[in-house]
Symmetry: C2
Subunit: 317 residues, 2 copies
């Protein structure tokens, strides 16, 4: 093993942004842009594992599940919708990325997409309090009926209607980790952990699907740690994490020691649901032995690898 | 590489039969039964690649695509629906098979599902005459309108309504072949080539999706040949291929030399769309250097491996 391994997480909104047409063509156009950074990372000689969100895609699949019922097709569980989105997005990224590899005359690489499961503990406290809204909107009457039929929890989502909420438990292990590691070692560019992985928990000795959504940054960190990756890179729409983000005294975090970032984290900085899981994952990766965690935008990714941009978390400066 | 490799193709109807409820639970129940034979093949020491059809599942996904349009979700192309079905079925088989592995106290195996693309030639004559009906039914008016908008071909499917037809070109190569081979050599049980693979063709140096459906037995043969598998096993609902099937003088084909089977094939035996592609694949696998092709039912699969049942095609008896 001579080259360094990097696990890069791509946000689901880089594949489909709010307000854009939800077509295949639009998503492919977005992906062609998003894969630019990956090509440059490959050119720097890294072995690349690419993970991705699936929020917009699984949202659309869930709506289709609902509307198919009238045509006699029962909706499939959330786990299956997640698996479908891994197939969909995996194939789209393969296509976009191989197109770029060809343009850049990189002919010795193949992109493979692996269906990925993430293990959670069914005793995770998240299961007591589902918080993550998913899928289509329902009227209050429909939501009450569905709750009675399925015991699923529904909430009024910001006044826009009622939506199902599911727990977001902590991922513990990526079941396909050993295969992913082997593939990237052999030179494949690997797409994995789509949407944070399909959540499964161990029951009677075997892994069964659970109704939950896993944060993709947390799951990417678990994979990166598990396969001894050198770098964890979490891509988002800002160049850095900030202290007091959006306020007058906001302060860009550049290169930082883990102990200092941990202090800030414990003080309650970083917005829940967006920057907080990224910072938490970045810290954890270093705690578990990784050498560098990066939080940055695609535009700044290469500069960040050159130690010139982005939030870079290390053990000691 | 000490152990023998076997590529086994599972029919889509083994995952969901006509008339059954199209639920996750029903499909998992079917898969638990279908995986029985796989466990026994593993116990015999073979390295296993499992491929599968996706007819019922992609059919359901296509109906959902249509019904989601009214909710503002544009339908995704057939290639994406195929990729979705690979995610869906791959995860279901993983779950069912690992459950059976645990029951049988086989603890050193992991099941991985790989998104798989099959290369076709866009000059394949099949593209001139699309024949394979897919997806939902439309009225004649709807079909005419869709044809004008998309140039897709629609036919009246046995008087039940109008359906889109797509070509069924010959698969030439499985892009993920090298990765699949590596995974199975390292001990993984690999699920691949779902629904015959996502059809792609080479355009301007890179692989783009095409609107087509590939026969899963043909694609399984291509993979088996490509990765130097020893045995190709095509599972279906009958124990053997027959001469004059269904007629008074029907004759079971047991162990047979490739030259003899080829004669029968050239004489026009074997029903198009069902047994014909299986026999053709069985012949081709031996012609290209494989040692044994088997056509049989899951119930007879182990006896067939023991040379006691099923249609077994070899170079020389």
């Amino acid at each position: 093993m001579t080259k360094k391994l990097i696990a890069i997480a791509l946000g689901g909104n880089m594949i489909l942004q709010k307000g854009q047409p939800k077509t295949y063509e639009q998503q492919m156009e977005n992906l062609r842009k998003a894969t630019d950074v990956i090509i440059n990372v490959i050119k720097k000689g890294y072995g690349v594992i690419l993970t991705h969100g699936n929020g917009p895609q699984v949202g659309n699949i869930l709506v289709q599940q609902k509307s198919g019922v009238a045509e006699g097709i029962p909706g499939q569980p959330l786990s299956i919708c997640g698996a479908m989105s891994q197939g969909q997005i995996g194939f789209m990224i393969q296509t976009a990325l191989e197109e770029r590899l060809y343009e850049h005359e990189i002919h010795d690489k193949r992109v493979v997409a692996i269906i990925t499961r993430a293990v959670v503990n069914h005793k995770d406290s998240a299961f007591k309090e589902p918080t993550k809204p998913i899928g289509p909107f329902y009227s209050e009457e429909e939501a009450i009926k569905l709750h009675q039929e399925t015991k699923d929890t529904y909430i009024n989502d910001a006044g826009r209607g009622f939506r199902k909420v599911v727990p977001s438990p902590i991922p513990l292990e990526i079941l396909e980790g050993p295969t992913i590691r082997r593939c990237v070692e052999e030179g494949d560019i690997v797409i994995a952990v789509g949407g944070g992985g399909i959540p499964v928990s161990l029951e009677n000795g075997t892994f069964v699907d659970v109704d939950a959504v896993i944060d993709k940054d947390r799951a990417t960190e678990v994979l990166a740690t598990q396969i001894d990756a050198d770098i964890l890179m979490l891509l988002t729409d800002v160049s850095n994490a900030y202290l007091n983000y959006g306020e007058e005294n906001q302060q860009k975090i550049e290169k930082i020691e883990i102990s200092k970032l941990k202090e800030m984290f414990d003080e309650g900085h970083f917005a829940k649901g967006s920057m907080r899981p990224k910072v938490e994952s970045a810290i954890q990766f270093i705690e578990y032995g990784g050498s560098l965690s990066i939080i940055t935008s695609p535009e700044n990714a290469i500069a960040a690898l050159d130690d010139k941009s982005g939030t870079r978390v290390v053990k000691k400066i």
